[in-house]
């Protein structure tokens, strides 16, 4: 194998590994919405006031998955 092939292989393996992080963010988002529904079904009157916080938590959690995806994209297209 030539040097650039090894580099390419490393790039693709690294991008694949980095994409695992998006799955981890998926666990986070699932927990977030699951817990929200759990609370919302117990006390539906509180839903209105907490919706903003739910969306805020979603955006912050999702951003971490996006960071992982960004690393994958950087490895694929920019390195």
């Amino acid at each position: 194998m030539e040097a650039h092939e090894i580099v390419n292989a490393g790039k693709y393996i690294g991008a694949g590994l980095a994409a695992i992080g998006t799955g981890a963010a998926g666990i986070g988002v699932g927990t977030l919405f699951g817990q929200f529904l759990n609370g919302a079904l117990r006390n539906p009157s509180a839903v209105e006031g907490q919706f903003g916080r739910l969306i805020f938590g979603f955006a912050v959690t999702e951003a971490l998955g996006i960071f992982a995806l960004l690393i994958a994209f950087l490895l694929l297209f920019a390195v």
């Binding site: 969306i55 805020f56 979603f58 955006a59 912050v60 999702e62 951003a63 996006i66 960071f67 995806l69 960004l70 994209f73 297209f77 920019a78």
Partner: protein, 255 residues
Amino acid sequence: MAGEAGPAINPIEQFSLLKILHITVGPFDVSITNSTIYMMIAVGLSCGLMAIGARGTTGAPTRLQAASEMAYEFVAGMVRSAAGEHGMRFFPMVFCLFIFILMCNVVGLIPFSFTVTAQIIVTVLLALMVFCTVVVVGIKEHGLHFFKLFVPSGVPIYILPLVVAIEIISFLSRPLSHSVRLFANMLAGHITLNVFGGFCVMLLSAGAVLKVVSVLPFAMIIGLYALELLVAFLQAYVFTMLTCMYLNDALHPGH
């Protein structure tokens, strides 16, 4: 195997800066780029919306007036709830940030346009502006008491050094996470759209059976577009919400 036949698509080509008008002042390159033009469009749109909205009508409010009032109420409510009545002094700054980022994100979603907020230099400067405002306001308002921010009350003395170190690191890393969050969301969203668009093109230029399959990535693009519209709004909201929280730290340090 079929992918080899299609044209090569570079998903990060859309973020390249193109100089449209070359201007150099001394050692600085202040050329008008496509980024500058889209920023001007965003500023123009937000100013236009607010100018029309604030003009006032004799009868029932128009749609644009309702939209601008909703935006005002939304941001004012956010500032009040996160930074308190004191924070309303910073309402103009927070409102400008929100409208500017929202307009940049939404304008960037128009096909063939350019996303200003997917340039890290733009988001870093916005985040650094907020960071510097927080530090300057905090020190001006509270002097040395501002540094109480790093010393939470009710922490046992033997773990206090560790907590203070963590607080300082988290405070200093704020502009980083603040800017990268917006940048990465916009960048990754646009790359994903472009990659799925590339799938579509590849499948269309492949065999006859595969042409039918190209409906699948196209449907995915439509779904992603809806998500991106949500993300464009959410990231503007999150950016301003965090700005309010940081301003709250400057106005009321010491937890």
